[in-house]
């Protein structure tokens, strides 16, 4: 299949404006004849559901948490970018576009990214109108900060809780439409399948997590806003419930999965403290503005630290290796996420890690405290320091923080065209669930922007273009296709419950996570990836013969819920590895050790790999088919990133 990205013609800056005019519209009186399903109530889902309901469509919104307000977007800390140029420091739509394309290591579409930069300004207006309490200056106007190494201050923030405030804004808009009767909410409901009829998405099948009821919902279009799949690694900064199930089931129904191997590893997370660890906690990136990253110069000293024979403060300055400052004199501790992460891995691989597991480096505020005083540092980072102390029991004012990289974000996702439509007509993917705008690496404060751009300002236009061509009649949920899908799901549940093996679901999840982290994590090799494929296949086999899922299908059953999710991760994992294996280059979050510059930086191969790799499902346990969407760069020049 030729992947048609439907990028409109015309100059970059005019594409979206012109296209909005060219798209078909649905007459206001007819909008209420259409039903739209929105799966997910994070930034992307809540904003889409609210905006579509405001336009007059009938919306059904689904999430697996007990309330739409708890979607994982709530956890985002740092901020949201927008090309407002309120600071008069030279920002512009074009600069945000350029930074995002470059930050993504030239693996995203120019047209999409430019549109994102254009609508970024509307997002801030919208959120402020909803009552989102962004940080302000004394004069009463909005404050900005620079974030993630950007050279302009374009990040809007609400203390360390930007995601929460933005989501609560979108949730309030959604709640208003629930009250209006335009949105019907289905919390604690998990999407299990997309139903297609005549090649078009016409509904979904869900499981009510409390009663276990399998139910069908019919609609004219289905939007998947189900977030990222970082939890394939078991340990990540994602919420415990984040999963790939919705996207994966759609994939199996014909939606291509793009760039699955692009994962972002965030450098400043609290290290793993033991086998019991269930998730990892992000410490805001902003800490690197004042903290200095180091490990001891020698293995011997590191060993003594690990055995607690010496304390960090016992190590003299000349015995410390501030390796980021040493290797990247101009960017120092502020190098991009992927570079900082990889270097932490290198020094720990050399045996210089500083905690019991040997997988941690120091982030030290000693010098900043001497320079600015404890009060200043506490004013800036007090809440983060407290959180760190709460979790680790150590006081970062007195002893350096320990940090280590952790899986944080997945740039890959369902392939979508310029309209955010997947390869299945009528099926859309928004937010982190799609692959669209971040290329091989996402810049800080851009995911929130993208989720809201998709939901508030893109889908309300593009969905009309599709629905205008749809009949008003809904398909009945007694249609053969719904019945078929319901049966398959019930069979699958029966199967999971009947295996009655010896190992728990978590056990499989942890083992999968270890394989993914080891072979498909921060640095990858062809050899390791080959090995991983076999291991994952084995593990999958074992899962289906030896997993133990307790309870019944018709009650609240956490192990059954997890079993579904882990079963899908076990399939996705293999695809990620295959994608990583086929991409014989390093770019952004995908680092293949074979492809690096002499200085150890990612070495792209623009000639052979400047494309989106979109995989087509060919059947269970059959190798997937790769499809390529070439990336054409008409406005930017491809350059090698350098932070020396």
């Amino acid at each position: 299949m030729i992947l048609d990205s439907k990028i409109p013609a015309g100059s970059l800056a005019e594409k979206w404006t012109k296209h909005k005019f060219n798209m078909k519209l649905v007459n206001p009186a007819n909008k209420r004849k259409y039903e739209v399903i929105v799966v997910g109530t994070g930034l992307a889902g809540a904003s889409a559901a609210a905006s579509l309901a405001e336009l007059g469509y009938n919306v059904k919104a689904f999430c697996f948490q007990d309330s739409p307000r708890r979607a994982h977007s709530i956890a985002a800390q740092g901020g949201i970018n927008a090309a407002k140029n309120y600071q008069n420091d030279g920002d512009s739509v074009y600069r945000l576009f350029y930074d995002t394309i470059k930050g993504g290591d030239y693996r995203s579409r120019e047209a999409n990214v430019h549109r994102l930069a254009e609508v970024s300004v509307n997002i801030i207006d919208q959120c402020v109108a909803q009552g989102v309490p962004f940080a302000r200056e004394y004069g009463g106007l909005l404050a900005n900060r620079s974030f993630g190494g950007a050279q302009v201050s374009r990040t809007f923030y609400a203390r360390g809780q930007t995601g929460q405030q933005l989501l609560l804004g979108a949730y309030s808009a959604l709640s208003r439409q629930v009250a209006n009767g335009k949105v019907k909410l289905y919390p604690r409901t998990e999407m299990m399948d997309v139903v297609t009829i005549d090649g078009k998405a016409r509904g979904i099948v869900t499981r009510n997590l409390i009663t276990g009821a399998i139910e069908s919902h019919s609609a004219h279009a289905v939007l998947l806003c189900t977030g990222g799949y970082g939890n394939v690694f078991f340990l990540s900064t994602n919420a415990m419930g984040s999963n790939v199930t919705a996207a994966w089931r759609a994939h199996k129904k014909g939606a291509y999965f793009a760039n699955p191997c692009y994962t972002q590893i965030h450098p400043t997370c609290i290290p793993v403290s033991g086998d019991h660890q269930s998730k990892l906690t992000l410490m805001s990136e902003s800490l690197r503005n004042d903290g200095r990253v180091w490990v001891p110069k020698t293995k011997e000293l590191a060993e003594k630290l690990r055995k607690k024979e010496i304390m960090p403060k016992d190590i003299k300055d000349e015995d410390r290796d501030y390796y980021l400052e040493r290797r990247y004199p101009s960017f120092g501790n502020l190098v991009p996420r992927d570079v900082a992460s990889r270097n932490a891995k290198y020094v720990c691989d050399e045996g210089r890690g500083v905690n019991e597991t040997g997988e941690a480096v120091f982030l030290d505020f000693r010098d900043a405290i001497i320079r600015d005083g404890e009060d200043t540092i506490s004013a800036k980072y007090g809440n983060l320091f407290d959180m760190y102390q709460q979790i680790t029991g150590e006081n970062p004012y007195q002893t350096p923080m320990k940090i280590y990289p952790a899986v944080h974000y997945t740039m890959g996702g369902l392939w979508v065209d310029y309209h955010l439509m997947t390869t299945v007509p009528g099926l859309y993917a928004l937010g982190e669930a799609n692959f669209s705008d971040h290329g091989a690496n996402r810049l800080g404060a851009s995911a929130l922007m993208q989720g809201l751009a998709d939901g508030y300002f893109v889908i309300p236009y593009t969905i009309g273009d599709y629905l205008a061509g749809m009949p008003y009649e809904k398909v009945g949920t007694d249609h053969e296709a719904f019945k078929q899908s319901e049966k398959e799901i019930k069979d699958k549940i029966q199967k999971l419950l009947s295996i009655n093996g010896k190992k728990t679901v978590d056990d499989f999840h942890k083992r999968l996570g270890k394989i993914m982290w080891e072979y498909c994590g921060m640095a990858r090799t062809a050899e390791g990836l080959q090995k991983a494929i076999g291991m994952i296949q084995e593990l999958r086999k074992e899962f289906w013969s030896d997993v133990k899922v307790l309870g019944t299908g018709d009650e609240l059953n956490l192990s059954l819920e997890k079993a579904h999710r882990v079963a899908d991760f076990l399939e996705l994992g293999e695809l990620m590895v295959r994608d990583a294996l086929h991409r014989n280059e390093s770019c952004g979050g995908h680092f293949r050790e074979e492809y690096q510059t002499e200085e150890g930086e990612a070495l792209r191969d623009d000639e052979n790999f400047a494309y989106v790799g979109a995989w087509k499902h060919m059947g269970d346990n059959v190798e997937e088919e790769l499809n390529k969407e070439p990336l054409v760069f008409e406005n930017v020049k491809l350059t090698q990133r350098s932070y020396k």
């Binding site: 919208q126 909803q130 009552g131 302000r136 309030s172 403290s273 709460q390 728990t504 956490l558």
Partner: protein, 249 residues
């Protein structure tokens, strides 16, 4: 450390439920409270027993999903969320009592899981500014004094966990409701609908079966986000001024 857990088990909303004791060994003090329960659940699963169901998602103290009443206090001995509570706060040999939130408006779904849909319905009754997407003024056209923005922010940090209800002797939802009413009443964007909002949200709160406020202050002390009682006072003002001056006769 070794602990005894006294856990509320209840099959579903119609089951009567009761406490079951479990003993659990080799718990490290670096574990979070929920990781300790994960360990218990792995053990139960291995033995073929139904794991203890509890709500949780972000495990970062922000989604508001975790909701355990631990040793007589919502979210346990510290002023934080259950997921941010660490085993350091306990000592070897302790018996820990774990119960669900208790309130008529939060019916138990299973074990320690409760249904907090009543909070959503309170917000649906008016916890928003009625603006459609698009067609809004430029963000900087609405200047807001920093102090006010900060105070509105403090109110807006509520995570909707329900610990306030769980702590209150009357199972009152005043702190939760007042946080939203306050946030929007302070900001110019929310002022347009403030009377209507106060009346409707409070009517909904009553309808859900939450109790009244005796101003004991327990809610604010147990609130993991430290939402202040001044919000309740502000809500009361909003309501009293609404009833004598709103258009709804």
């Amino acid at each position: 450390m070794n602990l005894t857990l006294k856990v509320w088990r209840q099959k579903n909303s119609s089951d009567k439920g009761g406490f079951v004791n479990y003993s659990i060994a080799d718990i490290s003090e670096d574990m979070s409270f929920l990781e300790m329960l994960d360990v218990l659940n792995e053990e139960l699963s291995e033995k073929g027993e139904d794991p203890v169901h509890f709500d949780h998602d972000c495990r970062e103290g922000i989604c508001g999903m975790c909701s355990l009443h631990i040793n007589g206090k919502p979210h346990g001995p510290q002023q934080t969320t259950t997921c941010q509570l660490h085993m350091r706060s306990f000592k070897d040999g302790d018996t820990i009592t774990i119960e669900p939130w208790r309130a008529a408006a939060f019916p138990v779904v299973k074990d320690l899981v409760v249904d907090r849909g009543s909070f959503d319905r309170i917000i649906q009754a008016g916890g928003y500014v009625s603006v459609n997407t698009g067609g809004v003024p430029d963000a900087n056209e609405i200047p807001i004094p920093k102090k006010i923005a900060d105070e509105a922010f403090d109110a807006a940090t509520c995570i909707g966990c329900g610990a306030c209800v769980a702590a209150c002797k009357n199972a009152s939802a005043m702190l939760f409701t007042s946080a939203k009413i306050s946030q929007l009443a302070m900001l110019p964007q929310g002022k347009v609908e403030r009377k209507e909002r106060a009346e409707k949200m409070i009517a909904q709160m009553d309808e859900e079966g939450f109790g009244a406020c005796t101003n004991t202050g327990a809610c604010s002390i147990e609130c993991p986000k430290g939402i202040s009682l001044t919000n309740i006072a502000r809500m009361n003002r909003e309501y009293f001024s609404a009833i004598v001056s709103s258009e709804n006769v």
